[in-house]
Amino acid sequence: MGGIIPPHYRSSRRHFLARAGAASFALASAPALAEAITQLPLPGGPDERQITTAFPQKGALILQRTRPPLLETPFEVFDQSTFTPNDRFFVRWHWSGIPTDISVDTFRLAVRGHVNRETPLSLHDLLALPRFELAAVNQCSGNSRGYFQPRVAGGQWSNGAMGNARWTGVRLKDVLDRAGVKAGAVQVRFKGLDETVLPDAPHFMKSLDIDHARDGEVMLAYAMNGEPLPLLNGFPLRLVVPGWYSTYWVKMLNDIEVLDQPDTNYWTQTAYRIPDTPNGDIEPGATGGTTVPINRMNPRSFITNIKAGDKLQAGAPTLARGIAFGGAAGVSRVDFSSDGGKSWTGAELGKDEGTYGFRRWQMRFALPSRGDHVLMVSCTNTQGETQTRSPNWNPSGFMRNVVEQTSVAAT
């Protein structure tokens, strides 16, 4: 069993002020609050992050990087609703050449390569295809990287580089069928409008195998939670790959290329690779193992209404609640422990909003005695996959899904 790692950051007094400000939508116009700071309990630090409201179409988010933007959802947002509001949804870009003016009249999606008809599609054309909708968690490969020990370089996220939305758009299969995929196609490569700063740098692109691309679930979304995508979440169109990490969910998607050879671009061949082991887990420092492109998400679960360090009343009926997701399969069960993992009880599951979305859960319990206690929660998906009991580790800080531990004191 690893060390005790709180499931989310603790609030400071200044952070409380930021939350109050955000709640009243007054933060942007209140300079005194604009420098609100939150603390993420990342082992060894640095742990201070600014709460920013400086980004268009976005409310209060944790500033991980200004340019290109890395913005994290404050964890309390996950306690407030099953679907993550668009203005609190996390943001992650690789290159800072992000278009800031997008005309919906001139926007075109190219569908080209190993196809019969290379016809560009307008947004009007996409609206004419059958509409498709599903709920799915979009989670960064490196969500929770800041908790890796030993620490690794990269975006130092707490647990908020994820969000759940209802995505509306069209099936990728329908778009590919319209173009007519030729026999011999092996992969489909996706590219967005974002540009590199340096001319020789590799444009961000990701690829899926042809059968995955045509599975009838991978989709192009022009709306999330019933509204157009915020620009920073990929307006006007992004790929949605249910159950897979968000590196594949290419934003501002304007180019689909059907390949008759495996993709060898940097972002598939070199970046975003994991050790070919369960949960990408290896011993820190181990080298020489085979790697594969990151792919299916693993299950995770979180307590959202009780934070590390909270004081609870011994013997009193207490409610724990939170979110779970099964990764590439639905949630089968969520188990809760109030004694540090010695005993577990199945939690009550909330409404099923879809295989790939957040599932709410809740559990009533009472801490038997005064003193320190550790609360734990673990999700098992419908394929029998569950969370790791000791932290998984790899040099890129990907796929963390250890059972979270929340230390509380009963008084």
């Binding site: 740098a201 940097y266 639905g330």
Partner: protein, 110 residues
Amino acid sequence: MVRSMLPVTLVAAIAFSQPCARAGSEFAFKSISVDLPAGDSMFPKGPNSDAADANCLACHSAGMVLNQPALSRSEWQAEVNKMRTAYKAPIDQKDVESIVDYLVSVRGKQ
């Protein structure tokens, strides 16, 4: 699996020109124009901070570095090498050691 094909009304939260609504459609895409924060702060002053300013800030703001955990010299060296080889940052060889020195001075592991 719960899925629906219910119609969705798109409500544009922001401005702007010339919606390209289809007749009879409840969708109305609207063009977008926004500004993003510049993120143009320099690195904290110190020995070799000018090398970091000159070579790192074209692609990313300084906060990316300052939010990193303490890393060893070899780990910082690997990061600079990655910027040069994978991301094609045109860093002169003579600047590499200065940049690594600076990174170790601000986020080095003892």
